[in-house]
């Protein structure tokens, strides 16, 4: 978080025109407000929707006869969750005080996106290496990292939610392969529903 300049830059030689001082003061107030704002666009009901779809996807994925079809199910769920969360975030941000294009919103996205991209790349790498049993733990861990780092610019409950995802991810990495869908249902399903409901009640939709 950039701190505001607390000392006025007045040259020693000539007095600063009054209107310049006034403009500088207004910019100072605006910058201080922008720096002090938390990104409140994390969607509550969108999170609940993502959780419900994740539980459905876990059930469907668990029925799949091949690894490829299992993976495709979760990739489809990933895109669906992205669409649900994205639309909800854009709508909430636009209706609230911190749009995604605000400094707080941009910082949120800048912190959120890299772990998600890392998860996408590692998914391909682990699939090619035949280590798909590690994917549920990896997805939960890196999604949790994204929510935690992005949540540092948001309201306090968001990084807590991210830490919970990371915890479930770590546990999932040490569970047997057939527990992957259960871990995903617990993590992406129940955590999203629980925290989403809390965020919706406490901070609005």
């Amino acid at each position: 978080m950039r701190s505001p300049r607390l000392h006025r830059s007045t040259p020693d030689s000539a007095p600063e025109p009054l209107q310049d001082r006034a403009l500088e003061n207004l910019r100072f107030i605006r910058d201080t407000m922008a720096g002090a704002s938390a990104f409140t666009g994390v969607p509550g009901w969108g999170g609940v929707g993502m959780g419900v779809s994740a539980i459905g996807a876990a059930w469907i994925a668990h029925q799949q006869p091949t690894v490829e079809r299992w993976l495709l199910t979760w990739i489809a769920e990933g895109w669906l969750a992205f669409a649900i969360g994205g639309v909800a975030m854009v709508r909430k941000s636009a209706a609230g005080e911190t749009p995604l294009t605000s400094r707080a919103g941009r910082r949120f996205l800048l912190a959120y996106v890299p772990p998600i991209l890392a998860a996408a790349v590692l998914t391909l790498v682990l699939y090619r290496a035949g280590m798909t049993a590690l994917l549920p733990g990896l997805w939960l861990l890196l999604y949790g990292a994204a929510v935690t780092t992005g949540g540092a610019m948001s309201v306090p409950v968001v990084p807590v939610m991210g830490a919970c995802f990371m915890l479930v991810g770590v546990v999932a990495l040490f569970l047997p392969a057939n527990a992957g869908d259960l871990s995903m249902a617990l993590g992406f399903g129940l955590l999203h529903i629980g925290f989403g409901g809390w965020i919706a009640r406490r901070y609005g939709g």
Binding site: M1, S3, L6, L18, Q19, L23, I29, T32, A36, E97
Partner: protein, 130 residues
């Protein structure tokens, strides 16, 4: 939250456009403007405290200190002046055994910030009109 949004929009719009919003509470020419200036929040640290609190329901002592990168003593002195003026409320409590200090902007503090913004806008409008 709607009030903090209004203050933020006023500051942003005025800084960007040079003071288009309608003035409130500021009348007269150049001579009458300067004496009206609120000296309590005109000081930079106090202006920063009030601005930060305008967009947050409350901020702890440590959050404000970290946000403004100032020392404990400096923050205490300026926060006390704002408190004495009735612009912020200070709530002391304990989180376990650790003392915690929370600051909130009072309605008087929010009005003072809005007056200050209007004052700055008036100065800019006057300079552009002359």
């Amino acid at each position: 939250m709607a009030k903090s949004n209004a203050a933020r929009k006023a500051a942003g719009a005025a800084a960007a456009s040079g003071g288009k919003p309608q003035l409130t509470g500021v009348t007269g020419g150049r001579a009458s403007l300067a004496p009206d200036l609120d000296k309590v929040i005109h000081e930079r640290v106090r202006l920063a405290i009030v601005s930060a609190l305008a967009v947050n329901p409350s901020l702890s002592f440590n959050e404000l200190k970290s946000l403004l990168t100032i020392t404990d003593g400096n923050l205490s002195v300026h926060a006390r002046k704002l408190e004495d003026a009735g612009y912020i409320d200070c709530l002391k409590s304990f989180a376990g055994r650790v003392p915690k200090t929370e600051y909130r902007l009072t309605p008087a503090g929010r009005r003072a910030l809005e007056r200050y913004l209007a004052h700055m806008e008036a100065l800019i409008r006057m300079a552009r009109g002359s």
